[in-house]
């Protein structure tokens, strides 16, 4: 049992339901429907990389709901697959809701068959019924349920249709009111014989392990050459004997069929899945080409596709910049009008210079947070949500695959890099969708160099506002060139070979306004909750330091680097260092350190450009460093840090000199 039995515990639950299935079938949507939580959803495979949990009260039960990452089979291959499989096989949730995409039933059933093989209690949610019927796929749910021997509930998760019946069925399965008669999967004669032989041997010599896993399942996994299971068996005293028997049997199968045994299993399972589909599905071909297909044709086109890709990114940049600047002007004039009153207010309530500076710090922190940060963040998150929901990201990945291969990655990495423009943390974690350790690290290493929303604030708020759009754009282009060069270099340096792309392309969807607004709202809320305390704290510290006159003292330590090498005013050293906490803090503290919101008075254009460039590259913020550490280990995180800092200083100094020469 995966639940704690102590009633007083907050996380207590009566039983657990896990949502499992292929990537991008709508597990997270169903999860959100059931729990009322807001697990990130979107139209691209691989969003959920860690399991999420929430609670549901239903019929007097408190049920724990788990959202597992999407997987295609129960053979552990990438990290998220191991997460999902370990959970299903070892922790054994009380009921598994297997979410299927009704419009791609055959492929989805491949996973279902493996769940049935593992002999776990499952209920099937036949999701995206609306998409399926649009494709001309008619599914007889009763027949399907009869064939598979488990309950099948048709659902349309986005509208919430069928969700109540689904959870009702799951509870009935838990209560034992519905008896499951799972379809027994049998393979071709020789494979079946091999499984029998292995199973008998396993029953005799590995009785400990069979408490955890069904013996037949273990035998099948050995035929499938599953490394994880092989390692587990190796640790038993008679394990070697079983492994050598397995390899002998596998060789025999190879001799007989001329194919590797895992392929044989896959062929049989797909054969069966195909039979199941034929028994319960009617295809009515719709003659006219759907709008989605036409859109797919245009956006994936050899020439048009790339034009659309660059148009979309140009448009995003323009919209974010335009709306952001407009909002900043409105908000700034509002706060400027407010300032005199607040100054009077603070000097009225206290005469203590320290308390006054703290109050001032809090006020200017909030002002800066609202006027500089929010105007760019909100429109950006809005557009990112539209992109995610529409299903365009996999198309962009398709178009950019060959470019990504140049830097040792493949198309999927392009999705992570896009997400990096939002925030480096989810982008870094998102690198788990890549298949090998090497690619994950390479992806993470390059992703942190993408200017996230916080860094965009610095670029747009400083360079964009004072030097113009083209100057800001040039920074983004320099960044892309840098990423390309670094990627190329590390691709050559890192040992190992690049892996090819195998990616599902989900159909286009019209993004729902409700989901997008919700997503934008929650992302912004997270940002505010997380960033504002740090922004305000940082400003207060700096304000107090300024009043006590230790700011200059502190900064003078860094004089050789900041003034002599980068050519920046002495006081900019402090924002650069504290910017490690959050990148946009660098800009806010810059105004604090320089004592003005009008940067024109305190900085030359060259200094603005250099400052933004250094902030863009020099170090990912604390939370990104922590993520890098967690994902790739201490050594690799440190390596990334050292590379980024030295690169930023080097390029910053170089830019300062080149620009000075040109001017």
């Amino acid at each position: 049992m995966s639940c704690h039995k102590r009633k007083e515990e907050k996380r207590y639950c009566d039983f657990t339901i896990a949502l499992a299935g292929n990537a991008n079938v709508g597990k997270s949507v169903i999860f959100n429907q059931l729990t009322g939580l807001n697990q990130t959803i979107g139209n691209w495979p691989g969003k959920t990389v860690e399991k999420a949990e929430g609670f549901l009260h239903f019929k007097g039960y408190k049920i724990k709901i788990l959202d597992l990452p999407g997987i295609y089979s129960l053979s552990a291959f990438s990290i998220e697959e191991i997460v999902a499989r370990d959970y299903i096989a070892i922790e054994k949730p009380d009921v598994i809701i297997n979410v299927l995409d009704a419009s791609a039933l055959e492929r989805n059933l491949y996973f279902t068959l493996q769940l049935l093989e593992l002999n776990v209690p499952i209920v099937i949610a036949l999701n995206q019924m609306d998409v399926a019927s649009k494709k001309g796929v008619k599914i007889d749910c009763e027949k399907l349920s009869e064939v598979l021997g488990v309950p099948v509930v048709p659902t349309i998760a986005v509208t919430g249709s069928g969700i109540k019946e689904l959870i009702d069925k799951a509870v009935q399965v838990f209560e034992g009111k519905i008896k499951l008669k799972p379809l027994k999967i049998t393979y071709c004669k020789e494979v079946e014989e091999a499984i029998q032989k292995l199973e008998n041997q396993i029953k005799i010599s590995l009785s400990n392990l069979t408490l955890k896993y069904p013996s037949r399942w273990l035998a099948i996994k050995l035929i499938e050459k599953d490394e994880d299971i092989e390692n587990k068996i190796k640790s038993f005293s008679e394990g070697e004997k079983i492994l050598s028997l397995a390899s002998m049997l596998n060789e025999n199968l190879m001799e007989k069929h001329g194919r590797d045994s895992p392929v044989l299993l896959a062929m049989d399972r797909y054969g069966l899945a195909n039979e199941v589909v034929k028994s319960s599905v009617k295809f009515t071909v719709s003659p006219k080409i759907s709008f989605e297909e036409k859109l797919d044709e245009v956006t994936g086109h050899k020439i048009l596709g790339y034009i659309i890709l660059s148009l979309i990114f140009g448009l995003i940049f323009t919209i974010v910049f335009g709306i952001g600047n407009y909002l900043i002007n409105v908000l700034e004039s509002f706060f400027e009008a407010l300032t005199p009153f607040l100054n009077q207010f603070t000097s009225f309530i206290t005469k203590n210079i320290i308390v006054e500076s703290i109050l001032n710090g809090i006020f200017s922190g909030i002002t800066a947070g609202i006027t500089i940060v929010l105007p760019y963040i909100v429109p950006f998150y809005f557009i990112l949500s539209i992109l995610e929901d529409s299903g365009y990201l996999p198309r962009a990945a398709f178009l950019l695959d060959s470019a990504m291969h140049k830097i040792g990655l493949h198309g999927k990495a392009a999705i992570c890099l896009f997400l990096g423009y939002g925030c480096s943390v989810p982008a870094c974690i998102g690198c788990r969708i890549m298949e090998t350790e090497r690619e994950r690290f390479l992806g993470g290493f390059l992703t942190v160099l993408i200017p996230c929303a916080a860094r965009s604030i610095v670029i747009l708020g400083l360079v964009g506002k004072y030097l113009g759009v083209s100057a800001a754009l040039s920074l983004y282009i320099i960044d892309l060139i840098l990423i390309f060069l670094l990627g190329r270099l590390s691709h050559k340096v890192l040992p190992g070979e690049a892996v090819g792309l195998i990616m599902e392309m989900p159909p286009y969807k019209i993004p729902s306004i409700k989901t997008i607004t919700k997503k934008t709202w929650f992302r912004t809320k997270d940002f505010v909750y997380f960033a504002f305390p740090i922004i305000i704290g940082g400003t207060v510290i700096l304000e107090v330091m300024r009043v006590l006159n230790i700011l200059v003292l502190f900064a003078s330590f860094m004089k050789p680097l900041i003034v002599d090498w980068l050519g920046l005013p002495l006081l900019t050293g402090i924002p650069l260092i504290l910017g490690i906490l959050r990148k946009e803090l660098a800009l806010i503290l810059l105004s604090e350190a320089l004592g003005t919101l009008n940067f024109n008075e305190a900085l030359t254009p060259i200094q603005m450009y250099t400052f933004s460039l250094v902030v863009m590259i020099y170090i990912p913020c604390l939370s990104t460093i922590a993520t890098l550490w967690r994902e790739f280990g201490f050594k690799k995180a440190l390596l990334t840090l050292i590379v980024d800092v030295s690169l930023a200083l080097f390029i910053g100094g170089l830019t300062y000199r080149i620009l000075s020469l040109m001017a």
């Binding site: 295609y72 053979s75 291959f77 419009s103 791609a104 039933l105 055959e106 492929r107 491949y110 494709k135 796929v137 379809l183 999967i185 049998t186 393979y187 071709c188 004669k189 020789e190 079946e192 050459k225 060789e251 190879m254 001799e255 069929h257 001329g258 194919r259 590797d260 895992p262 392929v263 896959a266 062929m267 049989d268 797909y270 054969g271 039979e275 034929k278 028994s279 797919d296 044709e297 994936g300 050899k302 596709g305 996999p394 990945a397 398709f398 178009l399 695959d401 060959s402 470019a403 291969h405 493949h410 198309g411 690049a498 090819g500 792309l501 195998i502 990616m503 599902e504 392309m505 989900p506």
Partner: protein, 208 residues
Amino acid sequence: MFNRLIEVLEFLATLERRGEKIELKKVAEEFNITLEEAEKIINEAIEKGFIKIDNGEMHVSNEGLTEVLKHRESYIHARYGHKTGFLGRVTRFIEGKIDNFNIHWQNKHGFNGNSLDAFYKNIQSLEGYIEETRPLTTLKEGEKAIIVYALGGKGLIKRLSEMGLTPGTEILVRRAAPFYGPIQIAVRGVSLALGRGVASKIFVKNVK
């Protein structure tokens, strides 16, 4: 490692296809061996009946050609440098077919016997010379084909099978991205993007 005799036969067959004469010197040059060694191999081939001598000229016999075709997959394997260690054994590929499917579930769940037969037929239709197969990358947009086999490491094969790209599966090429980019295919009702490298390792044959 790989049977040198087969490799030589493959080379000789290629020469004949090009309309060139079979000469010992060419064999020695191609494989970087001495003339004596080349002669030894050729003699072995003549003994086994893979090469016949006609008017003083050497030709690859029908038996020889059959032998070449039989070993084509492992030959490609060796050429591609996938040292998976079963090169010799893969040769029985062309005999590869599913024998008797256990009909347990057929009786129990009342599947249509005809569709089952169709399934067997589908698998059995895989029989044939590898000669007819070609890499997926050679397909044009809108063309249909059936997967015969995939070459590559254990990991790749497993991933391909999981995504439904098993031997005997029909695929449709939707479009290809430029600059040696990926290929978008439709398989089992799903749209998949395959990197060009991956696609070139999948071999297909025409739909009959």
